[in-house]
């Protein structure tokens, strides 16, 4: 009984965290249950640890990325192998959960796979943080909930909305948080991040960050996989905090009380999440409260997920100042969010060359991604990492719950290297298709955009290779990216033909799903300010950057002709630094 309830909560909570970042759904216009496809198959794989040893008795989750998709859980056997069989065709996200371990993917690895694929997954032993929490008398603080909050990942990039969950201190005040990803953390006793409540003895207290501070001056703890930081002792301050409470109204829906609404409390100065609260219906509204909040400037935001044909709703940021007393009666109103819907088609026309690889993917085995165009948006709810969904069998897809912002859609990340994105259009004023690849799609508040069209063509080429230094033995600059720039004059403005990839730590790169044609290759450093952003956008999304890349690529003139279905391997790209003069700058 207890386990059942707790795990349900965990799921609920995880869902609401995701939901707080971004919600998405899929077209729900197929009333009838999906029939199992004739081409059902299995996804097989193997789970190993860092040294290649099999991981047995590990749970593997195989989840279709559509709303009505099959979801399955399988366990690995003694050899670390798993089989998820009898899967209808579609694209499936493969994840693993093993206590104390973290699934670590190589940067190029895809999360999604389709029946017939074999998947190798590597689990690394998670890091641990341990210490003792005492009060000002030096006595142990017993039963206070502990959280480790990831602030930067192992690459030093800032992370938005990631929490290591809380265990309680024991009778000696000792805590141990484990199974953590590599990265930099702050550790907090009595945090409200996992939900705010008055129920525990410390509910009213302001949280104390390691070593004995507020969030602003919290000490940071950096962890490697398999590492352990001990002695992360906290002197608990036990200072009284205040309550922020109020209610949420949603004029856009009458029966919204049945949907879940999450409320977040954020520091106004740096947007870090301070607390998360659940809400309960109260009359025609929903009530919320945060407890144990210290003096300071905050924002409160609320968000409701999509509900049936409704795209979800969110509030503006409501500023709240706490000055030595409780703040009550905070009113939040929800306004409808927008959506982008469209259709993806696979062009099976004969003008394409068919590559002799796997059988052609079904449209429900492709993926469509969305990300915000504006990563510096003042509205943090519109900042999220790229989200992938799978179109349904008719190729229809919809991204729901979109705050007003400019968005970029893509379908380049295919499960099959034989296909490339040939066209991306949106219905123009007179319903004529207008190219949507060169700039983002702007969603105004509550706007529903329909008529996005993706066309995928066959015969894509790919290049795999390595960047080498200009002079032998010299080292390469960091943050290097390889760009493919269209060399044919009539493709010069085709954004879909600007393709770029990060250079890995072994100097390798991989450019796939490339339209056949003539290109220039160019290796360039990602500007430092870009690399610090939560989401690195393709440089070619910016018109000025495209022009700059084209100018530089033409000058260095490293050209390649890619024939349909050509697979270039072991390509050596010599890095030449940019010529003196102004670097192409983003505007």
């Amino acid at each position: 009984m207890r386990r059942r309830i707790f795990t349900a909560t965990t799921m609920f909570f995880a869902a609401s965290l995701n939901f707080a970042l971004m919600t998405f759904g899929q077209s729900n216009n197929q009333g009838e249950p999906q029939k199992s496809s004739a081409r059902a198959g299995s996804i097989t794989g193997r789970v190993v640890n860092e040294s290649g040893k099999p991981m047995r008795n590990v749970r593997v989750f195989v989840g279709g990325s559509g709303r009505q998709s099959v979801r399955r859980t399988v366990n690995t056997d003694e050899a670390g192998r798993f089989v998820a069989d009898d899967l209808p065709r579609g694209s499936y996200a493969i994840t693993v959960q093993a206590s104390g371990y973290v699934l670590v993917r190589d940067p190029g690895d895809t999360v999604h796979h389709r029946p017939g694929d074999s998947v190798n997954l590597v689990l690394k032993k998670g890091a641990a943080i341990a210490g003792t929490v005492t009060n000002s008398d030096g006595d142990p603080v017993v039963g206070v909930q502990m959280s480790a909050i990831l602030v930067r990942d192992a690459q030093g990039r800032s992370v938005f909305g990631s929490y290591g969950s809380g265990r309680y201190t024991d009778d000696r005040g000792v805590y141990r948080l484990f199974g953590l990803s590599a990265g930099t953390y702050v550790v907090v006793a009595g945090s409200k991040i996992l939900g705010s409540s008055m129920l525990t003895a410390y509910g009213d207290d302001a949280p104390t960050y390691y070593p004995s501070s507020t969030r602003d001056t919290a000490g940071e703890v950096t962890l490697q996989y398999g590492g352990e930081a001990t002695g992360i002792d906290i002197r608990y301050r036990g200072e009284h905090g205040y309550a922020i409470s109020g209610s949420i109204a949603d004029g856009s829906m009458s029966d919204w009380l049945n949907t879940s609404v999450s409320v977040q409390l954020m520091q106004a100065s740096n947007d870090t999440v301070e607390g998360q609260a659940f809400t309960q219906p109260r009359g025609t509204e929903r009530a919320f409260a945060f407890y144990g909040v210290t003096d300071g400037d905050y924002y409160v935001t609320a968000r409701r997920g999509p509900y049936q044909s409704d795209d979800g709703a969110a509030s503006k940021r409501i500023p709240v100042k706490v000055r030595g007393r409780d703040v009550t009666g905070v009113g939040i109103s929800l306004a409808p969010l927008g959506s982008i819907a469209g259709r993806l088609t696979l062009d099976l026309a004969t003008k394409d060359v068919k590559c002799e690889t796997k059988p052609a993917p079904a449209v429900e085995e492709t993926l469509v991604s969305i990300s915000t165009d504006d990563t510096d948006s003042s509205d943090p709810s519109s900042r999220f990492a790229s989200i992938l969904i799978t179109p349904d069998k008719t190729g229809d897809f919809v991204f729901q719950g979109l705050p007003a912002a400019s968005y970029r859609l893509d379908s380049r990340m295919l499960l099959d290297e034989a296909w490339y994105l040939r066209a991306m259009t949106v219905a123009g004023p007179t319903n004529t298709p207008v190219d949507a690849s060169s700039r983002g799609i702007v969603v105004r508040p509550g706007q529903r955009i329909n008529g996005v069209r993706f066309v995928l063509g066959q015969g894509a080429a790919s290049i795999r290779g390595r960047v080498v230094a200009e002079k032998e033995g010299a080292s390469l600059p960091d943050r290097l990216r390889v760009h493919l720039v269209p060399a044919e004059p009539n493709s010069a403005e085709d954004t879909l033909r600007f393709i770029e990839a990060e250079v890995q730590s072994d100097n390798s790169f991989r450019l796939v799903n490339v339209a056949p044609g003539r290109y220039w290759l160019l290796a360039r450093q990602l500007p430092e300010e870009e690399s610090k952003k939560r989401l690195v956008r393709p440089q070619a999304w910016n018109a000025a950057a495209r022009a700059g890349l084209r100018r530089e690529a033409a000058a260095s003139n490293v050209a390649i002709d890619l024939k349909p279905c050509q697979r270039v391997a072991d390509y050596q790209l010599r890095y030449t630094p940019p010529k003196e003069g102004p670097q192409p700058k983003r505007t």
Partner: protein
């Protein structure tokens, strides 16, 4: 009937699922006109004061809403005073997870039940605590590898070996093994217990997104029946 104070963190979680309020935002006072009462007393352990212990007054029976009627913290002499108590029936408990109540009359009866009439001042309430026992150990699989994030269950048994109920530690994770396979259950009342891990096949369910795949029910010290108690 379970120990309310130990159940508190758990009730938070349950509330968020079942949609019952985890905290009332405006508790309707039963009768705002009737004069309010007060409760004062002392928290001790072995006759010595227990300072800085949270004292919590909850509605009796526990109303599921969760928010305590009142909370305070003992001073350096272990003394506390709760004012503005409305008339009603309450449970007075101290949030001291490492302790057990001295006067435990039967299994699971924790805290003091008290009924307050309008305007009544109850003084000299003695809350006497006893440091609870600690059961700690390590859980390994047949190959000697630590078993991580697995719950250890304590079952109380009497002299005849009959089961007498379970023990609810602080929160769900209070009885879970860590990444080294180590668990530590504290605040355990005196008695004889059987420690076990895993679940019988009937209990196992695919809901459990966290933690491990299924481990069969195993009793301390690594046998598969409940023959060997700890005490």
């Amino acid at each position: 009937m379970h120990n309310v104070s130990r159940l508190l963190p758990f009730v938070v979680l349950m509330s968020s699922v079942s949609n019952t309020p985890a905290y009332p935002l405006a508790r309707q006072s039963n009768d705002s006109k009737s004069p309010s009462g007060s409760i004062s007393g002392r928290v001790t352990s072995n006759g010595k004061p227990v300072p800085r212990v949270p004292v919590i007054l909850t509605q009796n029976p526990f109303d599921g809403e969760g928010k305590p009627v009142a909370r305070t913290t003992t001073d350096q002499d272990g003394r506390f005073r709760i004012a503005n108590v409305p008339a009603g029936s309450f449970n007075l408990s101290a949030f001291a997870p490492a302790f057990v109540f001295d006067e435990r009359s039967s299994w699971g009866q924790d805290g003091k039940r008290m009924t307050i009439s309008p305007g009544e001042a109850v003084e000299g309430v003695d809350v006497s605590l006893k440091r609870g026992g600690v059961i700690t150990g390590k859980v390994s699989d047949s190959a000697g590898r630590p078993v991580v994030e697995e719950r250890v269950t304590l079952t109380m048994i009497d002299e005849q070996g009959r089961q007498r109920g379970g023990f609810d530690p602080l929160g769900w994770e209070g009885a879970q093994t860590d990444d080294r396979g180590i668990y530590r259950i504290f605040g355990v009342p005196e008695g004889r217990y059987i420690a076990s891990v895993g679940q019988s096949p009937s209990q196992w369910n695919s809901w459990a997104v966290r933690g491990n795949a299924y481990y069969p029910l195993t009793f301390n010290p690594g046998v598969d029946d409940a023959s060997k108690p700890l005490s």
